[in-house]
Amino acid sequence: MAPFLLIATILFSLALALPLVQMATGLPLDAPLTGMEAAAPAPTWTPAAWWSGTLQKDFDAWLARRIGFRGALVRTANQIHYGLFGELATTGGDKVVPGRAGWFYEKVYVEAFRRGGDAADSDLRRHSAAVRRLQDRLAADGIAFLLVIAPSKAEIYPEFLPAAADPAGRAQRRSHYERMIDVLQADGVHVLDARRLFADWKRAPEAPPLFAKGGTHWNHYGAVRVAALLLEKLAERTGRDFPAVEVVGAVVDRAIRPPDNDLGDLANLWQRRSLAGPQVHPQVEIRRGTSKPDVLFIVDSFGAQLVVWLQQQRLVARHDTYWYNGRHYGWSSRREVADEAAPRRAGLERLDGRDAVVVVQVEALLPNVGFGFVEETLAAYEAYDARRTARREPEAAP
C-alpha cells in the first residue's frame, strides 16, 4: 500500500502544480480556445492595492485568464456538459445554444425568437419612413438603394431549437420582421427579402441546407444565392449591365469555409470538427457584364459573407464597407480599420459617384435599419441641402 500512497500523493501534487508550471513555461502545450476576450489587466503590486483589496481581485481575474491548461479545462467542462446534458458550461458573451441533432444557435437570435417583436407600431413606421426618405434622396443623386433582410437561423430552422426556446409557441408570436415587412413594402422601400426567400427555398424538394449546423450565418451556398439576387436587383435598379451570377447546383462536402462553423468553434468542445456537419457550396455560372457596380455597403456579419464573396469573384468595382461593429474597409487603402463612428457617419463624400448603397442586416435587428447610417446620412443630407439652398437664395433675392 505504501508505494501506491506515495504515487497517489505525487499525482495529486502534480495535478495542483502543473497548471502553474504550464503558465510559467508554456509547456506542455495547451489546447487553444476559440473566441474573442477583452484582456484582463495585470495586478498592480503596491501596498495600497493590497490593503484596498484591488490587488487580490485583479490577481484572481488575471490568473483566471492565464492559468495553465485553461483551454483544456474549458474544453473538458464544455464536452462533459454537452455530452451529458446537451448544453455548454461556458456562460455569458455570445453564448452558444446547442440545439437538437447537433445544431448550434447564437443566443441573441434564440432570445429574439422566443421573445417576439414588441416594438410599438409607431416605431416601425418611423424607421420605415426614414429609410424611404433616404432612398428618395439617394435616388435624386442617381444612387440606388437596397435593403437586404437576412434570415435568422432560429426562424428558418426552428425544428432544431431546444425546447427552452419554445418553438411550439412561435405561432402565437409575431416577430419584428413579420410586422415590419408589410410597412416597408407599403412605403415602397426596395427590399431584397432573403428571409422570405430562405423560407421558400427550404420548402423546395431536395433543398440543400441553407445554414451549417455549426454556423450562425447563412452558409456558403445560401450567401451566394443571395449575392446573385443582389447583383440582379442592382442591375434592375440602375439599368446597367452588371455581372450576373446563376447558382446552378450545390456540392456537399466536409470542407468548412471559415464562418460556417463559427458557433461550433466557439462551443470549444474537444470534438470540434466532427460536429460541423455537411457543408454546402454553390456551383455557379458567371456572366461578367460590361461594368461592375460601385457600392457602399453598410452591413452586419451576414453582409460580410456577401461582400467577401463579391470581392473574391471581382464582381464589384470600388466598394467601401462599413461594419455594424465600428470598423471600416476602405477601397482606396484596401485595408480594414477600427472606426468608432462607423457606420453612423459614413459621410456624404463616401457617396460620390456610387451606383448604389446596400444595407444588409439580419431580421433580428429590426426595426432599426442601417446601424445609425440612415439617420445620420439623412441629417447630413438635410444640412447639405440647407447650405445649398442658402447659397442660392441671395441670388434670387434681387
Binding site: F4, L5, T9, A15, M36, Q56, I67, L73, V74
Partner: protein, 477 residues
C-alpha cells in the same frame, strides 16, 4: 480566498504544501500560520489586524485564567472581560447595522430623526472564529486545556485556514495537543486528498448548479411563483445549502489531514433524520456541540426544572438563529427550530415519537424545508409570502409566471443530490465510499477511490475555469 477558486487550488495550495513539507517539523506551525494569515488577508486585508490583535489580547488574558493563577473572582472577572471583548467585536461588526436599522425604523415610526450611521463591513468568518476564541478562553478557565504554549500557537488555532471562514467550529480542547505535536503520514495525507476532492465536487458540481434554481425561485416575486416552482426552489435550496456547507466542511477536514490535523465531523446525512432533534445531531454538529457546551449547559441545561429546560433549549436556538445572520428571518428560523425541539422533548417516549421512519423522515424533511424558506428569504415578509405560495396547493396559477430555467443538468443534479442524501440504505453509501481507511484497504480499493477523487478534481477545476471564459464570436468595440 475560497477553496473553490483557481487561486486557491493552483497557486495557494501547491505552494503551501511545498513550503510546509520542505520545512522541518518545528517550523511547520509557522508556515501554517503565515499561510493562514495570507489566506484570510487575501479576502479581508484590513480585518487580519482585528483577528491578530484580538487574538493577542485573548492570549495575554488567558495566561491568568487557569486555576491557581489567582483568586477565583479575578479569574472569573478576566474570563468575563475576555469573552465580552470577543462577543463585543462580534456584536459591533455583525449586528451594529441591524440594531441601528431597527432603531431608526422605530424612531421613524415616532417621527423622530434617524441616527446617522456609516454601515460597518463584516469581517469574513468572524462568527466562527469568535466562537473558537470563546471556546479557548472557557476551556483554559475550566482547566480542560492548558493555555497555548505561545501566542503563535494560539493564533494558529484561531486562524488555521481550513476552518477559519466557515468551520467546523473547532473546540480548543479537541485540537490543543495536535497544535503541539501531530502525525504526518501518507495514509492521513491520502485520506485528506479523497475528502478534499469529495468536498470540492459537492460544492462546485452540485451546490453551485442547484443554486441557479434556488436563486431564480427566491429571486422571483412570490406572487409570480406557481406552487410547484416554490417547492422546487426550496428543495433545490435544501440540497444546495447541504452540499455547499458539508462540501466546505469536507474540504476543511481534507486540508486539515494534509497538514496532519484531524477535525471532527460536521455533518452526518442530516436529511434522513426522523425528528428535528435528530436533525441537529446530524447538521452542523460542531455548532450544536459548541452551543451545548458553552451556552446550554452554563444556562443550566436540563438541571433547573422542566420550564427552564424548555426555556434554555429555545433560547439556545434563538441565539443560534441570530448567530447565523443579523436579520429577523434568521431569528425566526432559530425560534422555529427551537419550538420543534421543545415539541420533540415534550413528546419523547410517546407513540408520536415512536412513529416509523416512513412517517418521521418526510415530516421532518418538510419542516426543515419550511425552515429553509426562513433562512433563504431576503426578509421575514418575503419568507411568509414564499411559504404562502408553497401551501397554496389548489390556488390558481399566477397570470404571469416567473421564468425559471430548469434544464436536464438541473434535473440530473437534483436527482443525484436526492439519491446521495436519502440513500443511506445503499451499501456502501457513496459518501462512505470516499471514507477509506488505507490500513484496512487493498490497493485496488484505494486506487478506485483515488480515480474518483481525481475525476472530481479535474471536473470541478474545469467548471471553475469556464467561469472566466465569456467569449464573443467576433470582437465588438
Amino acid at each position: 480566498m475560497v477553496f473553490s477558486s483557481l487561486t486557491f487550488l493552483f497557486v495557494f495550495l501547491p505552494l503551501l504544501l511545498a513550503a510546509y513539507y520542505v520545512c522541518p517539523n518545528r517550523g511547520r506551525n509557522a508556515v501554517a500560520l503565515a499561510a493562514s494569515l495570507l489566506f484570510y488577508a487575501w479576502g479581508a486585508p484590513r480585518f487580519v489586524l482585528v483577528l491578530v490583535a484580538s487574538g493577542l489580547v485573548d492570549y495575554a488574558l488567558s495566561r491568568h485564567l487557569p486555576a491557581g493563577r489567582g483568586p477565583d473572582r479575578r479569574r472569573k472577572g478576566l474570563l468575563a472581560l475576555a469573552t465580552a471583548l470577543n462577543v463585543g467585536l462580534l456584536l459591533y461588526f455583525k449586528y451594529a447595522n441591524f440594531f441601528v436599522d431597527n432603531l431608526n425604523a422605530w424612531l421613524a415610526r415616532f417621527g423622530a430623526e434617524s441616527l446617522v450611521w456609516t454601515a460597518v463591513a463584516l469581517p469574513i468568518g468572524i462568527s466562527f472564529f469568535t466562537f473558537q476564541k470563546v471556546s479557548y478562553l472557557v476551556d483554559v478557565y475550566r482547566g480542560t486545556a492548558q493555555p497555548a504554549r505561545n501566542a503563535a500557537d494560539y493564533l494558529l488555532y484561531v486562524a488555521l485556514f481550513p476552518q477559519l471562514i466557515a468551520g467546523p467550529i473547532v473546540r480548543y480542547h479537541d485540537v490543543a495537543q495536535q497544535l503541539i505535536a501531530r502525525e504526518h503520514s501518507r495514509e492521513r495525507f491520502f485520506t485528506g486528498i479523497l475528502r478534499f476532492c469529495q468536498g470540492l465536487g459537492k460544492k462546485v458540481l452540485v451546490a453551485n448548479t442547484l443554486a441557479e434554481v434556488a436563486d431564480a425561485a427566491f429571486g422571483a416575486a412570490p406572487g409570480a411563483l406557481p406552487c410547484g416552482w416554490a417547492w422546487l426552489g426550496v428543495v433545490a435550496y435544501a440540497f444546495q445549502i447541504y452540499f455547499d456547507f458539508s462540501g466546505y466542511s469536507d474540504m476543511a477536514i481534507g486540508l486539515g489531514r494534509m497538514l496532519g490535523i484531524e477535525f471532527l465531523e460536521n455533518f452526518n446525512r442530516p436529511y434522513v433524520s426522523r425528528t428535528i432533534t435528530e436533525f441537529w445531531r446530524r447538521w452542523h454538529i460542531s455548532l450544536s456541540n459548541w452551543m451545548r457546551e458553552y451556552l446550554y449547559v452554563p444556562l443550566g441545561g436540563n438541571r433547573k426544572g422542566v420550564v427552564r429546560t424548555y426555556m434554555n433549549l429555545w433560547l439556545v436556538f434563538l441565539v443560534s438563529g441570530f448567530w447565523h445572520g443579523a436579520a429577523w428571518n434568521f431569528v425566526a428560523w432559530g425560534a422555529f427550530h427551537g419550538f420543534f425541539l421543545c415539541l420533540d422533548k415534550a413528546f419523547k417516549g410517546t407513540r408520536i415519537a415512536r412513529a416509523p421512519a416512513w412517517v418521521g423522515l418526510p415530516v421532518t424533511f418538510v419542516l426543515v424545508l419550511f425552515s429553509w424558506v426562513l433562512f433563504r428569504a431576503e426578509t421575514l415578509a418575503h419568507a411568509v409570502a414564499y411559504a404562502g405560495r408553497m401551501v397554496d396547493l389548489f390556488g390558481a396559477a399566477p397570470e404571469t409566471a416567473a421564468a425559471i430555467e430548469f434544464g436536464r443538468r438541473h434535473a440530473a443534479t437534483l436527482v443525484a443530490a436526492f439519491a446521495l442524501c436519502f440513500g443511506p440504505a445503499l451499501k456502501p453509501h457513496p459518501f462512505d465510499f470516499m471514507r477509506l481507511e488505507p490500513a484496512r484497504a487493498t490497493v485496488g480499493q484505494a486506487a478506485a477511490r483515488f480515480a474518483v477523487a481525481m475525476i472530481l478534481l479535474v471536473w470541478s477545476a474545469s467548471i471553475l475555469a469556464t467561469s472566466s471564459f465569456n467569449p464573443f464570436i467576433y470582437f465588438r468595440f
